[in-house]
Amino acid sequence: MLAIEYFEVECPEPLGAAYYKQITNDVLLDHNLLRVISKLHIFIDPKVPIFVAVGTLKKITSVVRVRDFTSVNPVGEKITLVISDERYLAPMLKIFWQKFGKDKVEQPDRFTVILYNVEADPREIEDLVVADPSESLFKDLIYAFRLIAPEGFRVRSEKFSKEKFSFVASEDTLAEDLTPLISEKFALIGEKP
């Protein structure tokens, strides 16, 4: 829990709040999302019923480039790439095939990719962007909050931006203007929506 600066679950039922704190912690930990959230306030009132989650996000780490997970060794006409993290191998190969053509890209084993007679400079290859982890971040966050919220709460309104997010869910129709409720909860963590 150290990764989060502020984390509270507010609920009229104290035992329910304790359970939901545990659930939130487990879900965020499972989905590896504790590292991106800096403040989080959850409000649940089963009597209304409503579930509100507001919070702020940490600056998300930058894009993944070829040099971050390979070492590029040019020898004559041949450029050998030694891969240390296989996670990004597939997207990297896709980019190479598109850029240079399949006949110039060879993968003799799991950890080696060889490029033959490519026109690009080795530095240029090192700088190629392979993946952007922030692309799927909002999708992951929304999925995680859907898991945390009680399952029957299927009417949702969510707002995610680079710095802040709010997630409101209920099983009844939501109020037309949720701004006062969201602002009230944001005020508790010392932020403005």
């Binding site: 039922e13 035992l15 329910g16 359970y19 939901y20 545990q22 659930i23 487990d26 879900v27 499972d30 649940i44 089963p46 009597k47 019923p49 898991l147 009680p150 399952e151 029957g152 709460f153 299927r154 099983e171 009844d172």
Partner: protein
Amino acid sequence: MTLVPVTYKGGIYQHDVIIDLIEDLGGYIVQKHIIAAEVVLQCFIPHDDIELIRRISKPLFGEVTDSPLVGTEIAVVSMSLEIHHLPHPSCDFAEYARRIGAKTNMVSPARGPGKRISQLSDEERDVINEHDVAVLAFGNFESCIEYKWPALRRGIEVPIIVMGGPDTETLKRIIHPAAEGYVGNVGRFMRRGKTEEEIGILDEIVAEVTRVVEKKREEIAKDPLSVSPARLMDLIRENVPAIHDVTSPTPLTVQMEGLRVKLPYDTFAGALRKIEIEDGITIADVAEIVPSRMRDYILVKILPFSETNTVV
């Protein structure tokens, strides 16, 4: 002769001696599992002969333990089959109860979750009613449980054990009309229970289910069944060879007051009715054979002595 449910655990070597012994003494084997070099028999044996079986199985390192849940079919009703409610805690309990001899089925209403929107269809209700007891796994909020309980219990005739996040006392206070059993502090959680405390709760649920099952057994004993379900199981096994081709783990599921036969109703119901138990008494004389709401299985409901005036 009172038959008591027990579990026998022992080595595979000479386990057929034990099987023969149980059958010769008039007991029935409900389930037999062979796991590596170990045999687990879930069976009914005459109360007076437990010591004899213990003595004979001693050189084989066999162990006989009481397991009151053998011969029961329990419905574990999870509010949905979504990741919110499964695999913890519903599957945790379903699996735990299986280890001690119960046959548990997961039942989940299509529209179970939520507070106002929660409901139970007639098919779901009928499936639950085909079991001996139902364990309803609720969520964490007492106001939610209080609100949805009347809608979910409507029409369920089997004893219900309520599992929920609030503590047992609170559950007892908020649940109207009353359920047969309550286990608190086990609501929705999303991780595997590993600590002693968490596993202790599973034992608590088992204890509560056992209490309810024992109470139901006492009720049945006041007006005993015309034939023991385990005896019918043996008869069907002998007389309907098709049952041996069923790949389900328990082709014949013994319940407290009947039997679930996992064969198609239209093809086999007639044959089942005609099976003779003894002295010209057929199954049709002492039991109702009806189609189950679960797939196209057959449900055998054994009639009590007061209705048939025979005990075989």
